[in-house]
Point group: C3
Chain length 477, copies 3
């Protein structure tokens, strides 16, 4: 089912090199600098409810594919915004999932699930309509056992550090609970202020009010807003944050004068901001956030180019993150220039840029990262955290930027039990890429042996300034 040499090229010469390289990193700890696991999971350490709630309901990779083939989201138990009825029987959800499992052939979701079934739950068969209930029962059996509690899995997965993604207004109470517990697992927050910046979003004013409460200030001005964000960054740093995270439709950056920023902010507070205001303000805030990163050393992650909630009907009925975020073309050379001209040469600044527009890798991003000291390329992301996506990323970027201007791997997932599968797939893809370079005598074996460790482990730690972190030694049994 999951072949030990999966994802490697079929050519024996290359495959054998890939196997040897992979084996050097297969068992290295997992460094997870960017992801969406809910910290409550590890704070509470409660058992996972059932296979459908664990695997199907939270994973929009899975249910969007079934939806694309005519399965209604209600039939998969996706909660409705209006609280209306949806499928409540996890077995029925699981059966529908199994009935459509063939849709995932050739997809990363298919790869991760096969790995997860096999390595986490010991299930070696492919899920089918026929074996759906038997497999459900076997996973259910696992979930009832203490070694399948979240913290036990965290330890078993050898996670060295797991970074979550948290609103600027998050109390980080679950992170505090984890710190207060005896459990040594390292779970760090990431500062994501998008909801404070997106001044056209319906919830923006509430978010600003909450920001004011948390910082004990009345955010009646742009200046107060900036001070509040800075205060929250201090708090996040105290709680261990190493990075910030920012989404945007475009990568536009550009500084406003204080007067202009203040005017937009005031309009927004009065409910009169425009789309043009949002565009300018977002571009300006990227400049401000870069300045703050220079000051406090947090790594600034940016991932533009996703048109959120493209399907209005699904958004209205089920809310955000339902598989309807669709990429748009993005531009970096002109858009990043103001930011990189101001901060890109600064040794204290570190920026990681992700893209959903593959065409920008060789044309814009690799040339930029191959020049500006502050810039690192984030790994192939979202629709591209896949065998072919990652492979194209390496071939598109390495010749211009080298591997040393890339940021290692991010699993970027909320699907906690899929984390080992994702890292493993990435390590295999990188090993296979390097094996191609070795087989064609572009790099030699000794170089590749260093490079695979860099790609699987060192680069992510350097990029996110986590060299100080080490996996605790296992307690001798």
């Amino acid at each position: 089912m999951v072949h030990p040499h999966r994802y490697f090229d079929a050519n024996p010469i290359r495959r054998d090199i890939a196997i040897a390289l992979y084996e050097k990193v297969a068992h290295l700890p997992l460094v997870c600098p960017h992801g969406h696991v809910d910290p409550r999971l590890l704070a509470g350490n409660d058992r996972f409810p059932n296979p459908a709630a664990l695997i199907v309901v939270p994973d929009h990779y899975i249910f969007r594919m079934l939806y694309s083939q005519g399965v209604q989201l209600e039939e998969l138990g996706i909660p409705r915004q209006d609280g209306g009825p949806v499928e409540a029987d996890p077995r029925k959800i699981w059966q529908r999932f199994a009935d459509h499992f063939h849709l995932f052939r050739g997809t990363p979701t298919g790869c991760w699930l096969k790995h997860e079934f096999a390595d986490v739950f010991g299930i070696d068969e492919t899920l089918t309509s026929a074996n759906a209930m038997a497999i459900y029962d076997r996973i259910e059996d696992c979930l009832a056992r203490p070694e399948f509690l979240p913290r036990a899995l965290f330890d078993r997965f050898r996670i060295e550090v797991l970074c979550t993604t948290d609103a600027a207004t998050d109390s980080l109470e679950y992170h505090q609970q984890i710190r207060d517990s005896a459990w040594p697992g390292l779970v760090l927050p990431t500062f994501r202020p998008d909801a404070c910046i997106n001044l056209m979003a319906p919830g923006w004013k509430a978010e600003i009010a909450r920001l004011g409460e948390l910082t004990g200030s009345d955010i009646g001005s742009y200046r107060a807003f900036i001070q509040a964000l800075e205060a929250r960054r201090v708090f996040f740093r105290q709680m261990g944050a190493r990075a910030t995270d920012h989404a945007a439709l475009s990568m536009f950056t550009g500084e406003l004068s204080d007067t202009e920023a203040e005017a937009i902010f005031t309009r927004a507070l009065a409910g009169n901001a425009t789309e043009g205001d949002l565009h300018l303000f977002t571009g300006h805030m990227f400049m401000e956030l870069a300045r703050m990163s220079v000051d406090d050393g947090m790594v600034m992650q940016v991932h533009p180019g996703s048109f959120r909630n493209h399907n209005q009907e699904i958004f209205q009925r089920f809310g955000a993150d339902k598989g309807c975020d669709i990429p748009v073309g993005t531009e970096y050379t002109r858009n990043l220039r103001p930011l990189l001209n101001k901060f890109g040469n600064h040794p204290a600044f570190r920026m990681v840029v992700f893209t959903l527009d593959e065409t920008t890798y060789s044309r814009e991003l690799a040339p930029l990262a191959g020049h500006y000291p502050a810039l690192r390329l984030g790994p192939a992301w979202w629709f591209f955290d896949s065998i072919e996506g990652m492979t194209r990323y390496r071939y598109a970027t390495t010749e211009t930027a080298g591997i040393y201007n890339t940021a290692g791997f991010n699993d970027d997932t909320r699907a906690f039990p899929s984390i080992p599968a994702r890292h493993d797939l990435s390590r295999r893809v990188d090993a296979n890429f390097l094996a191609d370079l070795v087989a064609r005598h572009i790099v030699d074996h000794a170089e590749a042996e260093e490079m695979i460790v860099d790609l699987a482990y060192n680069l992510v730690k350097q990029t996110y300034r986590m060299e100080d972190i080490r996996l605790p030694e296992p307690v001798a049994g």
Copy 2:
């Protein structure tokens, strides 16, 4: 000459898997849901005139390449718009073609021609200056024999259904002739109303007048226009049409109010429409055509992004379709949103989108098709119906949309004798793609065996709602 294992990867492990997969579909009937064969060919069933008229003169893939290297179109017998003299000797045309046959090395035209020469005409040599006349004579000998009449070839090619492309104002008289004949071959029309919609085209008013005649209405208003189109769709459905077909420069969609649509239509009738009107009207008509497809169940095919008649001098001297249609960049995420938001969740709607801009596959089209139930990705098309083009298409789309949101294969050709070569090439490419997945243990053999049949046969029939069609059993000899 045509190697039995052509187009498969040279790695024996992968190649052997590819051969096994290909053999499962090599002899399946051909389903041709989209193409440009002239129905007169099969209505009249007359012999093909001569090798040059069969192969060179109608194929702009061929003569554009010779033109790019300095051969004048007159020398190849391409008719002039002004009726002026062009080469009339088919042997001289054929000799020029042969003299430049090396230009097609590494091109799909080269691949198809080699296959066509070998499999249709039994010619195993590569065409050269030296053997040009000998090969001409051998093809000429074939064409004189009854088994090379169009219907005989249709049967020999095992074409299950052949869809033509027909103006909304076409009488479909040749389709009627075929239906009236004893011959059981299934030839179906496709509804293409472009000439009625392109209100800036010189012939638009004549087309509208013809539309009025055919529907017995005076098309003096937008409302009458819509009713006439609907009437023609009813007729096309009665004649067996399963699909509609639409070209556009951009994929812009957006609904106008009745008043706005009426105003533009009135301006156009008065000869006062603008490019802006055309843009808005085309975008609006996409909405209308989608609505009609929901109503009558015809599959809506759209292929944007071709800048037609780029070379003004060639267009003036020789007319349209002379190899001067050049792609432009296209955008789908924003442009398709109005249409997909209105109809994309509707179970009765089926839309097949083609692209000439490969960058949109992974960035926009696969994410859209991997979410919206109504959307299927058309196959790699035009400049991309080639070994590498199709291969890149599969690698770019499968991980995000799976194979089950793709539409199988279209040959899209007017070159009737090349149809088997085109399907065969596509089947080989898909087999080779799947063999790569099997060899890397991404899917297993059993999965791939289902997938290759899906790609070669099932998906096209499902997509075009042709499950009811089956090849007639051959009459026992």
Copy 3:
């Protein structure tokens, strides 16, 4: 270190074909129609100063990569615009280079350097911190010997012709010195009038003044400007130029009326030109330059899409060409239409277009080159003159344009000793590409044997109209 079968696919079937094809062209002379070697080098024939000055300081491929990882340009001896102090010790520069040599793993610079070290200097080890000084000494020893003088290397490299790139206002005195010498090496100028056309550049008026001096005219009008350019072209032709060379941010072309052109030119002379003027004027000058090429037969090379001097701080401190030129997206279908419609069908016109935007190869450039007789695709360029870049170029263009609408290879380098490495890499990549076509039975061995010679030698000579040039027979020793 440099493996004899490097860069070929690891699959033995394909590799063996690639080796056989490569061997047919490995020793063919080098035709260099486009590059940036300083003609002074070959006029003076002085010894190269030292390894750092030869390899590190002039090569922005090298120092931009070190800069991206935090090495300051001052530390690498890059001269400052203000004449301020930079590292003057070539050994320290070399040591820093060696300390960071791992950054070039998997990059073309890494490949070229390994080849150059081995084949030019006989050094088979990989450069490391430890062996840096030993390797420095060995290169230094070489440079002191007469067989490492520029002309000796030129002859040893078997360069049939080397074209330089020269401002329209260059006196070509070094070219004259070479012609006046007894040495038979063929070094030809290329006409590059960019500095005369870019009317927003600070030095533009000085350049126009110099143009006036050289042509004995007072350039007070657009008409005089055009006449002066024409006069310079006559001079360049007399000095052996075969081609012109033009950069631009966009590929926009479009004719202005004489009045409009005159008005812009007058504004520019008065220091009042705008960015809009520059855009229109550049587009107009492309039309004019094409007209001149029709008249005098010089091949017109255009390479749009580089945003020059992106990093303002580096530009101010170190000047242009410091690794801060970053590509932007480009458009050809609409932009080239005016030019191609006017001149693209003309048999006397030959245009070579380069791109830094890979997405345009399959979408726009290959379709255009596969139709217009005047157009040839320049080779994969700059960030793409690399194993993967060239490979993707062939796969993206061949199916649509064939190989016969491509322009062979350009080394495009100022790094003289890297020339053989660059041609060798290109020949290997093409051999490996063709081997794939042979192994998959797309072309046969005999075809591939012709094609590899065309790609390595014939096409560049045809494209640049150099069929009359032949390498002088070596003098019998």
